[in-house]
Amino acid sequence: MDFVALLAIQILYAIASLALISIGLAIIFGMMRVINLAHGEFLMLGGYAAIVATSHGISIWIAMLVVAPVVVGIIGIIVERTIIRFLYGRIIDTMLATWGLSLFLVGLTTAVFGNTTVGISAPLGSFEIGAYRASAYTLFVIAVAIVVLAGVFSVLRWTRLGLIARGTMQNANMAAALGVKPPRVYAVTFGIGAALSGLAGGVLAPVSGVFPTIGVAYVAKSFITVIGGGAAIVSGTASASALFGTVNQIATFATTPVFGEVALLAAAIVLIRLLPQGISGRFFRRGI
């Protein structure tokens, strides 16, 4: 029984971390059809922002939940203005340019921070489930993921900003004819997507530590989660994370973490073969 509870928490955690690392990419892909291959580096920069802020005496909570998203959000807007905006509609070229950006950022952070892992210890200690101990920080990550998904859903569903964003997403020309400026919507959306990636990077930094090439570990997983989820931002990310997180964690328990990853990737290939439009393209056509 205790073991089942522990397994359930681990599965929830795997789902939550997948959803967290993917939501920023999902927003950017869902809105603008831009595959941002520098996404992993946005997460990495979020981690560094949190760690540097903490080492300057800022409370770890503010560093993770405020500093990391703000810093990476600003970086995101700069990237959109200097690179991405020239490439809208050229999906392959955006992929290549953001891949270049990803290499560039890895090189830059290696030059600045060195090629070593830095970390901060996870706050909150641990709790007991029967004979097992689990980190309370796990529950915090799950809570953050829920809050972020609910927040993105509410903003898109019930606010004016969300209405404008959804309108631009459906038909940019029509939105422009009604007085919306699509370039501004795109810049803001890209910034928000980047900020959420920064948040995820900050929140996960105590778990994984941060090093310049950590983005590679993130980008493939979030990439397949977003593609597996399809165009609907929240329901797609949530359903794909639930599927892949469960597969990953159960395979990890049954074998080793490495084969957990392999099972996740194999599940993704099968899913894309069966549902090329992603889960939300099949089941939540009108969802957000």
Binding site: D93, M95, G100, V106
Partner: protein, 358 residues
Amino acid sequence: MNARARNLAGLVLVAIIGLAVLFLTPRLADLDTVLELTVYMVMAILALSLALVWGYGGILCFGQSAFFGLGAYTYAIAMFNMGESTLPFLLAIALPAAFAALLGYFIFYGRISDVYLGVITLTVTLILFNSVNSTAGPEFHIGVAKLGGFNGIPGIPSLNFPGDKNATIDLEGMFYLSTAILLATYFGLRLLLASRFGRIIVGIRENERRAELLGYDPRAYKLATFTIGAALAGLAGCLFANWGSFVSPTIFGLAQSAQIIIWVIVGGRGTLIGPIIGCIGIQWLSAFLGANQSTGSGSPWAALLSNAPLVLGAILIAFVLLVPKGLVPTLGDWGQALLRPRVRERIADAAPMPVGEE
């Protein structure tokens, strides 16, 4: 000069330069340089494989390094088990091709394209990397060959003349072999692309639906292109395993995949000579920057410039934004504009490939 004459002149020029490099280098350069050039030639074969698949077939494969790595590992494992290189050499080409045929069947007959194709090829590469990386223990072996996990496989025996396992090919021989294979690949691909098959795959790249309505099955043609590309990548992998007599899982890595794509985009999609130039140029640049680092001149700018990912990333961004067609086609356009200053040719649409939206 009309198009046909220009084409012929280009071919002759490449043949002359190629033969000159093949025969003169070992006579004029020292062994270090020859060794360095050998790996450039091997990588240029890899660049050609993606030039075919992406530049002509329109299939953006993020996993070309998977076939490259598979070729290298196949050669290494077969070589340890057999000791005579003819069969391992052929296996290193056949196995990646078979794997690509299987994967390609899955992709193309499922009508997966664009971004999704990118995801699947990327994912397969990561699966291979993760799996091979985790085989460090002694329990992972195929025949007598230990897989070695993240440590890789050292001491791979080199190729020998077919049939005689004591007549191994020395370092200079490897240069001749690699360069000759590169030239053969280049001219072979030119021939392939000039054939009916080549015309059809370019037609499919330009407009898949139209080609299909004309009665060609794009699935079969894409699958064939993908498989040929994988066979070439496997061949390059085999030569690479020979060159360093070492393979490790990093050759499956994302960085390796990124490099191949950078070579092709810098040199130019839709040409064969472009990716070769891009490949050799970028590798030379990387080696040059790396060499600068080791001497360590101390200034922060030198340190920044010796940072290979930083420089490669900046190059990739700059090319996508400023020279999206790549060096060779852009220079070709300029050359034409110079030759005919009065005639202003409108160059149709900088976007190289249709996005394929319904």
